[in-house]
């Protein structure tokens, strides 16, 4: 029972990280209608920035996280302006290839700057744990902080999208870009802000992820990035609650798969879930069905 509970908790904790990354994917996909393949690598850059600030410049953890957020936001906006904005009218194949190119660029840039050897990230959250059920169940502070942080982010983001003017603009652009422009919504600004929010969230996800899984390499971001995209599709791409639900479910499936089926096949299991979801319900758990117009 306690093994089950502890697996469940680490699943929810991993899932919360996926959910935060998936929020970035899903917002960008919903609004710019593009798959930002480089999102996972923005996470990796965020983790490296935080690492450098904390261990090379000896800054306190919260400052490191803030700087990582600022750098990631800037990076996200720059990527959008330089690489994606000129391709608004291009085919989705061109946009996707550009995004893959950007992902490759960031990975290799990180390798040039920080080297290919893995770095060991020290948790920004103090070590220690709470004991429950007479000490048979231990919950580490990292797990608690991760889950709490992701819940806070989700609530804040839902409020932002549903109750602010910018959030309204985002929903408009995602529904019909042309009509939104005619109504006086600044589409370019809206897309830029979406990228900024997504990238700032990526930095938070990076710190949380590296606190739990401390190996930092130039390819650290790509697998969580792909899994988070899977989570976004699972929950219904473009839907914010969907990304949260998808992320948490995916994290739980992965941890349980690794614990009870086969530790080698955890990733394969996640991707199998993606394929099954796309076949049975291509719009995801909470996605809206869109009819194709001829």
């Amino acid at each position: 029972m306690s093994a089950f509970m502890s697996n469940l908790l680490s699943g929810v904790s991993l899932g919360s990280v996926y959910a935060i990354i998936a929020l970035g994917y899903t917002m960008v996909y919903g609004i710019a209608k593009m798959l930002n393949f480089a999102h996972g690598d923005v996470i990796m850059i965020g983790a490296y920035i935080c690492f450098t600030m904390m261990f090379n410049l000896n800054m306190p953890a919260f400052l490191g996280v803030l700087i990582a957020m600022a750098v990631c936001t800037l990076l996200g906006v720059t990527i959008e302006r330089l690489a994606y904005k000129p391709l608004r009218q291009a085919t989705s194949l061109s946009v996707l290839i550009t995004a893959i190119g950007m992902s490759y660029f960031l990975q290799n840039l990180a390798q040039l700057i920080w080297g290919a050897n893995p770095k060991s990230f020290k948790s920004v959250i103090p070590n220690g744990s709470i004991s429950l059920m007479n000490g048979s169940l231990k919950i580490s502070y990292t797990t608690i902080v991760t889950i709490v942080a992701s819940v806070l982010i989700m609530v804040a983001l839902t409020m932002f999208v549903n109750h602010t003017k910018m959030g309204k603009a985002m929903r408009c652009v995602s529904e019909d870009r042309g009509a939104a422009q005619l109504m006086g919504v600044n589409v370019d600004l809206t897309i830029t802000i979406t990228f900024a929010i997504g990238s700032a969230l990526a930095a938070i996800a990076a710190v949380l992820m590296c606190s739990a899984y401390p190996t930092l390499k130039p390819t650290t971001g790509s697998m969580p990035g792909i899994k988070a995209f899977t989570a976004a599709v699972f929950g219904g791409i473009g839907s914010i609650p969907g990304a949260m639900l998808g992320g948490i479910l995916l994290g739980v499936i992965e941890i349980f798969g690794k614990a009870y089926i086969s530790s080698e096949l955890g990733d394969a299991l996640v991707f199998t879930v993606l394929i099954l979801v796309l076949l049975v319900k291509p719009t995801g758990l909470l996605g809206k069905k869109v009819h194709e117009k001829v």
Binding site: I97, M102, F105, T230, F271
Partner: protein
């Protein structure tokens, strides 16, 4: 048949089979250089991988360029071909006593068939999806294949092949050992075999493109709904392109696996798929001659420029983005179109 008709047929033929002609000319030059001992060892060792990557690029171009479906799991088919090929070559040597060329042919055929079967199984669900979803699912399948290969153990005991899943205690001589892959492989791939495989791939793809099915595939790429409304079997034609591409990739993979003493599943990661995609994109999506030239140059160039190895992938990434931005820029497109038009007019005047 009069003379002008003959010339125009010849022109059409040579235009259609231009990649085959280029490849043949290069093969002859390389053979002359090898027999005259004029080729450095390092270049010589690259000839077979170049053939493999040309096959990979041309076959991926069939999916990405001709059929218009972005596939990010091409290395998955390559890996199936590679490991099937190695196992089959060993099996046919030990059990049937095949000679080396026969082993190679057997390995290539079975490797191609296995990859084709996988392509068919994957294609049925995948090709129902569109655009970004299709790309991400092919990526997922590529990763699943690699994950599963990491758990597969195969051994040969007498005339029996034993298969194990996460079980390294199989009886007999082990051929494939999970994450370690295959080791101590007899390298029976030859440059001539590579050349013949490239030629085979080119002829298959070119004939497919210029056939009725090829036109149907391109019609579906250009407008799926219109193609469906004139009665084309969309899934069937897409599957045809996808499976053909997988079979060719499997054969390329078998040649690759039998060229190195050691091959492990990690050789066929997502990055390998992207590398092939880079060849296709830089050679020109849908352009077969382009794929051949890009694969050859982009494989040889970085190997020759080892000292810049750190910057190689960075440069790839920048070039990939730049090509996409330039080809999608309306101003540059107009400029090139105008330039081409002017050239045509000039040509018209002289004739």
């Amino acid at each position: 048949m009069n003379k002008t008709a003959l010339i125009s047929t010849l022109k059409k033929f040579s235009k259609q089979y231009l990649p085959c002609i280029i490849v043949t000319v290069f093969f002859i030059i390389c053979q002359i250089m090898i027999s005259a001992n004029a080729m450095p060892r390092t270049t010589k060792s690259m000839l077979i991988p170049v053939c493999v990557y040309i096959v990979m690029a041309v076959s991926l171009n069939l999916t990405v360029g001709i059929s218009g479906e972005l596939s990010l799991g091409h290395a998955g088919f390559m890996s199936i071909g590679a490991f099937t090929g190695v196992v089959m070559a060993t099996y046919s040597r030990e059990v049937f006593g095949f000679s080396q060329p026969l082993q190679l042919i057997f390995a290539l055929v079975i490797g191609g068939i296995m990859a084709g079967i996988m392509g068919f199984l994957i294609g049925i669900p995948v090709l129902r999806l569109r655009g970004d979803y299709l790309a991400i699912v092919t990526l997922a399948f590529g990763e699943i294949i690699r994950n599963i290969l990491n758990c597969i153990y195969i051994s040969l005991e007498g005339k029996d092949l034993h298969f194990g899943f996460n079980n390294n205690t199989l009886p007999g001589t082990q051929i494939m050992r999970g994450p370690t892959g295959v080791t101590g492989v007899k390298t029976i791939s030859t440059f001539t075999a590579g050349f013949l495989l490239v030629l085979f791939t080119l002829i298959v793809v070119i004939n497919l493109v210029h056939s009725r099915s090829g036109r149907a595939i391109m019609a579906i790429r250009d407008n799926r709904i219109a193609a469906e409304s004139v009665g084309l079997n969309v899934t069937g034609y897409k599957l045809l392109a996808f499976v053909s591409s997988a079979v060719l990739a499997g054969m390329g993979g078998a040649l690759f696996g039998l060229n190195y003493a050691v091959t492990s599943p990690s050789n066929f990661s997502f990055n390998a798929s992207i590398l092939i995609l880079v060849y296709v994109v830089l050679g020109g999506i849908g352009n077969i001659t382009g794929s051949v030239i890009a694969a050859a140059i982009l494989y040889i160039l970085p190997e020759e420029l080892r000292s810049f190895n750190d910057y190689r992938m960075l440069a790839y990434a920048v070039v990939l983005i730049a090509v996409m931005l330039i080809t999608n820029n309306a101003k540059i497109k107009n400029f090139i179109n105008n330039l081409l038009k002017k050239n045509d007019e000039k040509g018209g005047e002289t004739v």
